[in-house]
């Protein structure tokens, strides 16, 4: 058991448990907080994978911007607290849980017993170098400049769209 594995176990457990807790809380704000915790755990996992840039971006964008947005909306709308999780058409919901579990088990089975071969010991140099800001920046600004620009447009469109949708009505 080395330090790496220990870290992985910690982060993975936190991620898994927090995601579980997220979907089972009655209070939507508590759910959002647990999701934030999940994102932090994921950031840790990214660091373990030598993905420095992504880890930081995860915290800045996801935990720092998106989740803040979610929390703003939640608190502004001030939705009620009391509702049983599995209210409504119970049979469908039990079936849904069952199906999701089935799909997870199937994917796990395929991953473990599937015929693909995964590289288990990567080249550490390549791994390290592929996660740096420098590498990623080079990729984005040279090879993938057009998707980059498109992403910019997408954000512009999203901004304008959100603005118009959430605006107060014209009199």
């Amino acid at each position: 058991m080395n330090f790496e594995l220990l870290l992985f176990i910690v982060f993975a457990l936190v991620a898994a448990v927090s995601s579980l807790m997220m979907i089972t809380r009655k209070n939507a704000v508590i759910s959002a907080v647990f999701l934030v915790l999940n994102f932090f755990a994921l950031a840790g996992l990214y660091l373990l994978l030598n993905a420095q840039f992504i880890a930081v971006v995860q915290i800045i964008v996801y935990a720092g911007a998106i989740m803040v947005l979610f929390l703003f909306v939640l608190m502004l709308l001030n939705t009620g607290k009391e509702e049983a999780i599995l209210h409504g058409k119970k049979p469908i919901k039990y079936f849904a849980i069952f199906i999701a579990a089935v799909v997870f088990l199937q994917v796990a089975y395929l991953l473990v017993f599937g015929s693909g071969s995964f590289t288990s010991n990567p080249d550490i140099e390549a791994s390290l170098s592929s996660g740096t800001v420098e590498t990623i920046g080079r990729e984005i600004y040279t090879k993938y400049i057009i998707p980059f620009e498109a992403a910019g447009f997408l954000l512009l469109a999203a901004t304008i769209g959100a603005l118009i949708l959430a605006k107060k009505k014209f009199e």
Partner: protein
Amino acid sequence: MNSIPIEYYLILSAFMFSIGVTGVLIRRNAIVVFMSIELMLNSANLTLVAFSSYLGNPIGQVFVFFVMTVAAAEAAVGLAIIIAIFRNKLTVNIDEINIFKW
């Protein structure tokens, strides 16, 4: 020296994805449904980063970059829609926003 087999990351990712799916299917609060969708997107990100690291190819992480962009945009617009609906129906309970059936 990275001695964690990639399957571990992939199984964790699958687990988070399933949790996200469950959340989408059984929660009635529209905003919690959105958060579950974000969870699913993150599981996909984890998979991409894991492969990128193990294959030494930065392209996986470039893709994650864009996924995050899209997720942000989608979250913004989706929440705006929810606000707009809330104005009319005063609820974010998707059982009551049942306008597909005629």
